[in-house]
C-alpha cells in the first residue's frame, strides 16, 4: 500500500514539474487527495528554497588547501604511483611526447583529430582483415575474404587450405602456379608499360590518360588470366577425378577375373579328384573278381590290376 502511495506521490510530483496545476492533479486521486495535498505542498515549499552560494574567499581557500595537499603528495611521491592510465591513453601520451620531441609542439586540434581518425581507420582495417580471414561461407566478411584472395592482396594461409594441401596436393601446386602466372603477368605488363611509355614526347595529361587506359587494360588482362587459371584448375580436377574412376574400374574388373579363375581352378581340381577315385574303384573291382582261376590263368592281368591301382594312386 505504502509502495503504491510512494509511486503516486512521485507521479504527481512529476506532473507538477511538467506545469500541471495542483487541483487538476489532485482531482485524479480523490481517495488520497487530502494526504497527497499536504505532502505536495511541503515538496513545493522545499523546492522554493534557494541553493546557497559559497563565499568567494572560502572557495579560493578551499582550492588552495586542495592544491597544497596535492603538492605535499607530490613531494612524498604518492601521486602517479597507482593505478596507471589505461593502455590506450598511455600510447596516445607516448605518441604526443614523441611528436613534441620532433618539434610538433602545438598541433592544431584538427590535426590531432585527423591523427586519431587515421589510427582508428588503420586499426579498424587491420581488425576487419583479421576477422575476414577466418570467415566461412555465409558469414558477413566472407565476400571480403573472397575478393581479397582474388585480388592477390592476401596470401591464403588458413587451416582450410592446409587441409586442401594434404588431401589434394595437386591443387596447391596449381594454385601456386596460378599465382606465379599472375605474378609473371604483372611483371611482363610492367615491363611492357615501361617500354611503351615514351616519356619524353608526351605531355603530362596525355601521359596520365594513357596510364589510366593502360592500367584498365592490365586489369582486364589480369582478370582474364585469372579466369583462365581457374578454368584450368577446374579442368585438371575433372581429369584427375576421371582417371581415378578408371583406375578403380580396372581394379574391380581384375579382381572379378581373378575370382573367376580361382573358381575354375577349383572345379578342375574337383573333377580330377573324381576321376582318380573312379579309377581306384574300378581297379579294386577288378582285383576282387573270382580270383583263383584268374590268378592262375592270367597272372599278367593280376599284375596289370596292381599297376592300375598304383597309377590311380
Amino acid at each position: 500500500m505504502k509502495i503504491r502511495f510512494s509511486a503516486v506521490v512521485e507521479e504527481t510530483l512529476q506532473r507538477l514539474d511538467r506545469g500541471e496545476n495542483l487541483p487538476d492533479v489532485l482531482a485524479d486521486y480523490p481517495a488520497q487527495a487530502v494526504q497527497l495535498e499536504s505532502l505536495l505542498l511541503v515538496a513545493m515549499a522545499s523546492r522554493a528554497f534557494p541553493v546557497p552560494i559559497p563565499g568567494q574567499t572560502a572557495q579560493r581557500l578551499g582550492r588552495n588547501q586542495m592544491l597544497a595537499e596535492m603538492a605535499e603528495l607530490e613531494i612524498n611521491g604518492a601521486l602517479r604511483k597507482t593505478p596507471a592510465a589505461p593502455l590506450a591513453s598511455r600510447w596516445v601520451g607516448r605518441l604526443a611526447g614523441a611528436l613534441r620531441r620532433m618539434g610538433y609542439n602545438k598541433l592544431a586540434y584538427s590535426s590531432r583529430l585527423a591523427m586519431v581518425a587515421l589510427v582508428l581507420i588503420l586499426s579498424g582495417s587491420f581488425l576487419t582483415l583479421n576477422a575476414s580471414a577466418s570467415s566461412q561461407p555465409g558469414d558477413l566478411f566472407y565476400t571480403l575474404k573472397l575478393n581479397l584472395e582474388r585480388s592477390g592482396l592476401v596470401w591464403v594461409t588458413s587451416s582450410e587450405d592446409q587441409l586442401d594441401d594434404i588431401f589434394f596436393p595437386g591443387q596447391s601446386d596449381l594454385r601456386s602456379g596460378r599465382s606465379l602466372e599472375v605474378q609473371s603477368g604483372i611483371n611482363s605488363m610492367l615491363t611492357e608499360t615501361e617500354q611503351s611509355s615514351p616519356a619524353a614526347d608526351l605531355s603530362a595529361p596525355n601521359l596520365q590518360e594513357g596510364n589510366a587506359a593502360q592500367l584498365k587494360a592490365d586489369e582486364k588482362k589480369l582478370a582474364a588470366d585469372e579466369r583462365a587459371a581457374e578454368k584450368d584448375l577446374k579442368e585438371s580436377e575433372k581429369t584427375a577425378a576421371a582417371e581415378k574412376r578408371e583406375v578403380e574400374k580396372d581394379l574391380k574388373e581384375s579382381a572379378k577375373t581373378a575370382a573367376a579363375e580361382e573358381r575354375a581352378a577349383k572345379n578342375d581340381l574337383k573333377e580330377a579328384e573324381k576321376e582318380a577315385s573312379q579309377q581306384l574303384r574300378d581297379a579294386e573291382k577288378q582285383t576282387q573278381q573270382p580270383a583263383a582261376d584268374k590268378n592262375s590263368k592270367n597272372p599278367k592281368s593280376n599284375k596289370s590290376a596292381v599297376n592300375n591301382k598304383k597309377k590311380a594312386k
Binding site: 505504502k2 509502495i3 502511495f5 510512494s6 509511486a7 506521490v9 512521485e10 499536504s38 505532502l39 511541503v42 515538496a43 515549499a45 522545499s46 523546492r47 522554493a48 528554497f49 534557494p50 541553493v51 546557497p52 552560494i53 559559497p54 563565499g55 568567494q56 574567499t57 572560502a58 572557495q59 581557500l61 578551499g62 582550492r63 588552495n64 588547501q65 586542495m66 592544491l67 595537499e69 596535492m70 603528495l73 607530490e74 604518492a78 601521486l79 602517479r80 604511483k81 597507482t82 593505478p83 592510465a85 591513453s89
Partner: protein, 180 residues
C-alpha cells in the same frame, strides 16, 4: 562518467593542478549546498567542503581503481566528512582560522524568504540523515529519482519510499517548528 571527466581525473592524479582546479570548480557548489543543508551552518559547510576536495586528491588512486561514477564518490566523501565532523568537530582544521578571514557565503533570499529558510533549515534537522539527503537531492538540488538512485546506490523504488517518508517527517517537523 564522460571521457573528459576521466581525462581530468587522470591528469589530476598525475599532478596537473589545472585539472584538479577544473574538477573543484565543477563540483564545489553541489558539495557545498549538500553540506550546508546537512550541517545548517555556512562557515562549517565551507570548511567541510574544502575537506572533501582535500580527501578527493588524497584518495584519487583508490577511486580510479574502482571505476565508480565520480559524483556519487564525491557525495560519499562528503557524507564521510560530515560523519567525522559530527563525531569530533574540533579535529577539523578550518581554512578560515588559518587565513584569519571570515566567511562571506550567503543565501540568495530576503525578508520573509529568509525567515522561511531559517524555518526550513530548523525543520530539516529533525529528519534522519537519509531523509535529509533525499530532501536535499530531490527538492533543493532538483535531481530526479533515477539520479538519486545512482548517487546513493539504491533502487528507485527504495528512493521513492524514502522520499515519501522524508516528506511526511518534514511536514511533521515544519508543524513542530511552527512554520506551517
Amino acid at each position: 562518467m564522460d571521457i573528459n571527466e576521466k581525462a581530468l581525473l587522470y591528469r589530476a592524479h598525475a599532478g596537473d593542478r589545472g585539472a584538479a582546479g577544473t574538477l573543484y570548480e565543477r563540483y564545489y557548489r553541489d558539495i557545498y549546498s549538500y553540506i550546508f543543508y546537512r550541517v545548517n551552518d555556512v562557515a562549517t559547510a565551507e570548511d567541510l567542503s574544502a575537506e572533501v576536495f582535500v580527501r578527493m586528491i588524497r584518495h584519487l588512486p583508490s577511486f580510479l581503481a574502482q571505476g565508480k561514477p565520480f559524483i556519487s564518490w564525491l557525495y560519499m566523501l562528503a557524507r564521510a566528512v560530515i560523519e567525522d565532523y559530527k563525531r569530533n568537530p574540533d579535529q577539523l582544521i578550518s581554512a578560515r582560522d588559518i587565513s584569519g578571514n571570515g566567511s562571506n557565503g550567503r543565501i540568495q533570499s530576503q525578508g520573509r524568504d529568509q525567515q522561511a529558510l531559517g524555518c526550513f533549515q530548523k525543520a530539516l534537522q529533525h529528519l534522519s540523515d537519509n531523509q535529509k539527503e533525499i530532501i536535499i537531492h530531490r527538492f533543493v538540488e532538483g535531481r530526479s529519482v533515477e539520479d538519486i538512485a545512482d548517487l546513493t546506490n539504491q533502487s528507485e523504488r527504495a528512493v521513492r519510499t524514502l522520499q515519501l517518508n522524508a516528506l511526511i517527517s518534514l511536514e511533521d517537523a515544519l508543524m513542530k517548528e511552527g512554520c506551517i
